[in-house]
């Protein structure tokens, strides 16, 4: 067997495995597995609406922060 076939097979399979591992670690860092129940039930409530809610919430946050900056609000501490 050619050396390069062995090298490629090893390389590709380890790389693929590593990709999966990196994905898992990324999810872990993101807190996706912090709440087991929610994670499992998440699929049943995942919809366009949920996505919209998340976006509108983010917009709300930006707006409030924007206003605070405009009015020159300083946190009391």
């Amino acid at each position: 067997m050619d050396v390069w076939v062995v090298a490629m097979m090893l390389g590709v399979s380890i790389l693929l495995g590593a990709l999966g591992l990196v994905g898992l670690l990324w999810g872990l860092k993101n807190g996706q597995f912090d709440d087991r129940e929610k994670f499992l039930n998440g699929t049943s409530f995942d919809s366009e609406e949920a996505l919209n809610d998340a976006i509108s919430m983010e917009k709300k946050k930006d707006k409030i922060l924007e206003e605070k900056r405009k009015t020159g609000y300083r946190p009391p501490d």
């Binding site: 050396v3 062995v6 591992l21 929610k38």
Partner: protein, 809 residues
């Protein structure tokens, strides 16, 4: 009569008592109460009624109306305690009560996220904790909590200790490291199979090089990422001038790694990357399990102090004001209502009543206090409004003292030195010394640097902590696993070993040996007894005695109990309950209540060791119940078995002499101490420890926490309070007392296996190290014998799993 479900909470009721609501078109809706109806209307009008489709068959608790005023949530003291500010936004952690299903999570998140001013809501379903970020200028905290209440849930804040966050972060980091370790090790293993196979059947050098390189790529992250904890541990150990297991693992693994890199480049020796990955990952798995159960000292403090009220009702002349507890002085006049906690030690100046003292004494039986009696902070008034004069300020009150005592004793928890660690310390030193000697010997004797290095490293590789390093972790992991099957949770693996070395067992009485709930032991009925009436009466009271009677009624008269609503129910201070039903006067309570209401007794009913509960209709006695706290299942047999194991057993209780005597006799305990305060229990343990005893303490209540934290191993019965569970090292789930025996049994067995494992690895090393030193060990043989030695340890440890169970009964 047909049964029907309430359309909000889905609980089943008789159709006749449900409220019929025709406001939703032709099909009428039914509700069990106004609360459910209100929530249903609200959700419908907000367009959130898809909640009901989402929740499926789950049932909810009907919302209750009576809540304390949410205005307190806006007080400065409250906000500074719980609310965190970050760039102008406020952040709070809430515990949401009443979450049953993921639809509840969805509903709460949805409703809150719709509110103006709230910018982030994350609810954790597993522990019902929510993080809310909002703008204080747009919406008040009280409004947020009101919103949650309006949909039928309740929320109260909790202090997310930084410690808990940190513990979680550590746990996450360890998990990530373990994943990397397991992934790399598994892959190295199958490459190693090819290499071993190639060793026998021959393999071309170029292919071997590729396999070596692949192993190198995989082993590197294991050693430097997963194994970084050992390097840190070794660094600290060396800095503090002692040799630990970490030093051995770190030096062994990194030397084997260095040698393998050298072998890979020079192409004239075997690589040991598989051993590197194996050692690091296996020992790390043991460490990870420890981190999983690591105790959170600050968490305990939090749950303790969160039960402490922040404010007290101060009486000034005719005025009553709420003041922060810190500003109270000696001689202030304070008021405590039913259900509230006494904040500072004091003396009652008006009224009388029963107090729940379980926080301090652990006793379920409420005690009666009247004018002139001293009450302690931590007592909870059960049934009356009292005024008392403060005898101490907040910081010197009994409860605060316990909290501060606890925080100091938590750091000073005794630990028995671990056998494996001590041995491995010397062992590592010896091995490193021998390796150095070998190197010098070969270098001087043969003058070849390369040969000397290879032999020296093979000494370390052979002696590599495999067997010794795995001796403890594998045994404890198997031990923990079989303990979990019996419902016993060891929070740290090392407690198995510690527990096996303990010689004294201290048991708390209430809630540990006994169930902590009074149950009806005898009952006597006279003419005119009506179960429904009694049930309706006792269901109105939260007193433990009433609860005991209510439970007994449900168990014995379930079919006869009808839903009856009583009129003018009132609880009579410290005596019982009174109500009216269709003109008849119902009375339930103690002897005093009966006598003062002129109830006629046909015969004398007296009992010494039982609490009596009387029930009278229209001044005629119709039933008597005798209640007593009953023993846990199997308490006697378990204590018998533990005695046979050679343990000294002592019972400590806050209860009075004759109750303590009675229980001690029933379960066969000879030594017991009674009428103890929490601090007395802790002192008692200190005294025993001064005598050289090693102590296992079993407890369940807040009153045991101090004593638990003083003992070598603390065991909490799973039904105990959160605080006790948090502070303890071992948690026994369920109500069974047998598990206590099993916990001891497993720990002793694990300890024996650990000793066997260590003995084996010492023998192994004394044979193999000299051989390696003289250069007799071939690379393959080194690798094989190493794997074999670990295998022996692992197989030996597996024997723990096959424990025989204690014979029940």
């Amino acid at each position: 009569m047909s049964k029907r479900c309430c359309d909000h909470c889905h609980l089943e009721y008789d159709e006749s008592i449900l409220l019929k609501d025709l406001s939703f078109g032709q099909s009428p809706k039914y509700f069990c109460c106004k609360g459910c109806q209100g929530v249903y209307h609200l959700l419908k009008s907000e367009g959130l009624d898809s909640f009901y489709a989402k929740m499926g068959d789950t049932t909810l608790e009907p919302p209750t109306d009576a809540r304390e005023d949410s205005g307190t949530f806006d007080l400065d003291g409250f906000i500074s305690k719980y609310v965190k500010k970050c760039d102008g936004l406020s952040e709070i952690y809430l515990v949401i009560e009443g979450i049953h299903c993921s639809a509840c999570v969805w509903l709460n998140e949805k409703v809150l996220s719709k509110k103006e001013g709230i910018v982030e809501v994350v609810i954790n379903h597993t522990n019902s904790k929510a993080k809310v970020v909002w703008d204080m200028q747009t919406i008040k905290l009280s409004q947020i909590i009101e919103t949650i209440r309006s949909i039928g849930y309740n929320a109260y804040p909790y202090d997310p200790s930084i410690q808990e966050d940190r513990a979680n972060a550590v746990r996450k980091e360890y998990y990530a490291k373990l994943l990397v370790g397991v992934f790399a090790t598994m892959n190295i293993m199958w490459i190693a199979i090819a290499q071993y196979e190639g060793y026998f059947s021959g393999m071309r050098q170029d292919i071997k090089n590729i396999l070596n390189f692949a192993e190198f790529v995989l082993a590197t992250p294991v050693l430097f990422y997963t194994g970084s904890v050992y390097f840190k541990g070794a660094y600290f150990a060396l800095k503090n001038r002692f040799v630990s297991m970490d030093v051995l693992v770190a030096s062994g693994a990194s030397l084997a790694y260095a040698f393998s890199v050298y072998a890979m480049l020079s192409k004239n020796a075997e690589v040991y990357f598989d051993s590197v990955a194996m050692i690091v990952t296996f020992v790390f798995a043991g460490k990870y399990l420890e981190v999983l159960g690591r105790k959170k000292a600050v968490d305990v403090m939090d749950s303790f102090s969160s039960t402490m009220p922040l404010e007290a009702t101060l009486v000034k002349g005719y005025e009553k004001v709420l003041v922060p507890v810190e500003s109270l002085h000696v001689d202030d006049i304070l008021e405590v209502k039913a259900g509230e906690q006494v904040v500072v030690d004091g003396e009652i100046i008006s009224a009388e009543g029963f107090f729940d003292t379980s926080k301090l004494s652990g006793e379920s039986k409420p005690i009666y206090k009247s004018v002139g009696d001293k009450i302690l902070s931590g007592y909870i008034s059960l049934d009356s409004v009292l005024r008392y004069k403060a005898l101490s300020d907040f910081s010197s009150s009994t409860f605060s003292k316990i909290v501060s005592l606890l925080s100091t004793s938590m750091d000073k928890k005794p630990f028995i030195e671990k056998m494996a660690n001590t041995i491995s310390g010397y062992f590592s030193l010896v091995v490193l010394g021998l390796a150095l000697l070998t190197f010098i010997g070969w270098f001087i004797g043969f003058g070849s640097f390369e040969k000397a290095l290879i032999v020296a490293i093979s000494v370390i590789v052979i002696a590599c902590p495999c067997a010794l390093g795995l001796a403890t972790p594998v045994a404890t992991v198997v031990g923990i696993g079989s303990a979990v099957k019996q419902g016993i949770l060891f929070k740290e693996a090392s407690f198995l070993e510690t527990m096996a070395k303990c010689d004294t067992l201290i048991l708390d009485k209430t809630g540990t040996i006994t169930q902590g709930k009074p149950t009806v032991l005898f009952s006597q009925y006279f003419d005119g007894f009506e179960p429904s009436l009694l049930y309706a009466l006792v269901a109105n009271s939260t007193h433990p005695i009433s609860k005991g009677v209510a439970l007994y009624m449900r168990e014995n008269f379930n079919n006869e109990i009808k839903n009856i609503s009583l009129e003018s129910v009132k609880s009579i201070d410290s005596r019982g309950v009174e109500a009216r039903y269709k003109g008849a006067r119902l009375l339930g309570g103690n002897l005093k209540l009966m006598q003062s209401s002129g109830v006629v007794f046909e015969e004398e009913v007296v009992s010494e060791d039982m609490t009596l509960f009387f029930f009278a209709i229209n001044a005629k006695l119709v039933a008597v119940f005798g209640l007593q706290d009953s023993l846990r299942d199997g308490a006697k047999e378990t204590i018998e078995a533990l005695k046979k194991m050679g343990l000294d057993i002592v019972m400590l209780t806050g209860d009075i002499l004759h109750v303590a005597q009675d229980i001690a006799q029933k379960v066969g305990i000879k030594r017991f101490e009674y009428s103890l305060l929490p601090s007395d229990k802790a002192e008692y343990i200190d005294k025993l420890r001064d005598d050289g005893k090693k102590i296992v303490m079993v407890g369940d209540g807040i009153n045991d926490v101090l004593a638990l934290s003083k003992s070598e191993v603390a065991i909490a019965m799973g039904s105990g309070t959160d605080v006790a569970v948090n502070v303890s090292d071992v948690v026994i789930g369920g109500d069974s007392f047998f598990a206590l025996y099993e916990a001891f049994f497993i720990s002793k067995k694990v300890y024996r296996i650990i000793r066997e494992n260590i003995a084996f690895s010492v023998v192994y090393n004394t044979i193999m190290i000299p051989l390696a030193m003289f250069g007799f060990i071939m690379p393959l043989f080194a690798a094989l014998s190493m794997s074999l030695s670990s295998l022996v340890v692992v197989v030996n440890s597996m024997r723990i799993g096959s424990i025989r169970k204690i014979k029940k009964g």
